[in-house]
Amino acid sequence: MDWLTFLNVLDSAVRLSTPLLLACLAGLFTERAGVVDIGLEGKMIAGAFAAGAVAVFTGSAWIALLAAIGASVFFGLVHAFACVTQRGNQIVSGVAINFIALGLAAVLGHSWFEQGGKTPAPPVSGRFTSIDLPYAAEAAQMGPVGRFYADVVSGHNILVYFAFLAPFLAWWLLSRTRFGLRLRAVGENPAAVDTAGVSVARLRYSGQIICGALCGVAGAYLAIGLNAGYLNNMTAGRGYIALAALIFAKWRPVPALFVCLLFGFLDASANRLQGVSLPSVGVVPVQFIQALPYILTVILLAGFIGKAVPPKAGGVPYVKER
């Protein structure tokens, strides 16, 4: 693989890891608050469909983004209502949301656009287009490093740059602010938060709202950033890979960035390696590379790469003890 090809793979790795990273951070905010969320996938689908549909109707990418966030936060509130207020089973609620979102997108898409569930391509104004960073064209002429800047760093849309900034914001929020301290505490020992006179429910709802918003951005990115329009089930299991990445990153935001980049890189290489015969290995089945994120996570969970300790109160509804 020469340098240019490598940069090409890196470039698509950045694009492919963006939705993963957003979804992974979404999961991080809710799980650090003690609410397990297997419904990232469904929230992303809701966001992607809303973005696709609204972009067609309005022709505005920003309004479409807001719609995506709104749809996804709505499902987040449903999850919070089921898990926090009603103290339901968090896995069941998350799975239900995945089914509902997928089904609803197909039904609505079919009845509104009659294109078999997908939305028509929105106009250019209804999409997030690539931004060329300053001096990208000049840098491309200036050797391998310049090329890296021009091909990998520059030329993405605004949501990509947001996604790569988000882990640092999340880190700051969690470690330096009152909200972050309380959010982390409520995922470890909600009773400690309650006895300190702080509302457990409100914090967990906040976690779900942030989670919904980030999933909405991820969905919008898929529908009107990476692609043009919503396709049936276009998240393709990214919500689950994001959960794997979350475990791999040990529920910490900055490591999440690197894990998602790694997973995105694996994804990009899988596309590139399709049918290519490697020396002494032969043709690597694409499925193997696609399965690598899961395999790596299982190896991690088996304790070979450090130890991933989830937030202690994760998955357990909070009930005041008598």
């Binding site: 009152r178 009773a191 006895t195 300190a196 006179g197 008598r322």
Partner: protein
Amino acid sequence: MNLDKTEPTAVPAAIELIGVSKSFGPVKANSDIHLRVAKGAIHGIVGENGAGKSTLMSILYGFYQADSGEIRVNGQPVRIRDSQEAIRLGIGMVHQHFMLVENFTVLENVLLGAEGGALLGKGKAEARAKLAELAREHGLEVDPDALISDLPVGAQQRVEILKALTRGAEILILDEPTGVLTPDEADQLFEVLRQLRAEGKTVLIITHKLREIMAITDAVSVMRQGRMVGTVRTAETSPEQLAEMMVGRRVLLKVEKGPANPGPAALTVENLTLRDGAGVERLKNVSLTVRRGEIVGIAGVAGNGQSELLEAIAGLRRPTSGRILLDGTPIPHDPRALREMRLAHIPEDRHKMGLVLKFETRENSILGYHLDHRYGGALFDRAAIEAECQSQMEAYDVRPPNSRLKTANFSGGNQQKIVLAREFERGPHALLIGQPTRGVDIGAIEFIHRRIIEMRDAGKAILLVSVELDEIRSLSDRVLVMFDGRIVGERSPEADERELGLLMAGVTGAGERGAA
């Protein structure tokens, strides 16, 4: 102002409860409670499990709302809607199960809920200064940057007290504060409490340990079945009187037992060493013998290898080296086979090991013996199980005697009786008993202790592990002290408590020469 005519002092009471009631569904947890806690006093509240002490304190701390009645703090009628309100009124609480985030530092735990702004930076600096000041004034030393999970229990409790004090608590409520402490740590705690009293702070301490009440409080209120039985001055009462008020009848606090009549050795442990999954040595070359007809008590602070010793003998953990003999035969590493060899085990934690709480009592009454042909084998003979359970419940006075009730719905004392009945009634030769009266009310403690003595007098070999030193001393015929996985000494149960306490803390020196 203060309208209470019984005590016409100018200073209003720190806390006054007037006719407070609280129900949970049909259960009256508190009914018509009246209580007066004088400012600058240490006031004890005693009562059995389920007497309503914790509910009452939770009402004071805003965890629950009273259904009716009035609360006054410093003479002012107040409504305490949530914990934040209680904190504002100067009420701080140290819960029995600490309300700490284990993977947070001390500082972060102190900060939680009182951050002093949306950003942590400034609040952190202030809290750090405040902690240093409190450490200076009260000797409440603790490293602000240490992780809670790395701190010993006594230090964790100190963090809880610091949390309350940094929030400006004038009234400190402690719920069963000594349950997890060594005698030495408890003494240190009492010293801190006395000092707080000297500064005019009010301390409310909930406990079921009468000895501590006698040692530290100025006045005691006794609760029974959700009611306040009465308040007495500590100087004018006795443990016997308090116990009687708690239970509603006369209670024998002292275990009555004759001298032991030991026979041949039944259980022998030779050079037992045990390394846990993480490679840490939990037992180091432990040897001991229990003879028929005697009770050997293992004293020690929790976590010094007692649990591992019990579990190794019970076949639940495989020792790294050493031998365990029952009547001269090496034992198999198989709890079921051991049960058939008539070695019974009362596990330390009945919730984790002794019982399946979601099972009905009759299912628990045969748990572990369920393969016995008496119960029908693969298809259970329900009538036989029912009869077995009924007879056990009757013999051990389990209340309510309902074999279909889920075990979780019984009180701690009755759950323990269910375990004891199952294990004792099958005629074991040797008994391993861990924490027989943990979370058990006084009335049931008396009953359980009597049964254990009866087993001894019937010629059983009994190995007893308890973190309650009083229990070890009153039941055992010989006391072995464990520290850091070793047996560091043997004493008679009449040995000086201080001496035993020092041994438990690992101080072996002068006293050791006198050991057998």
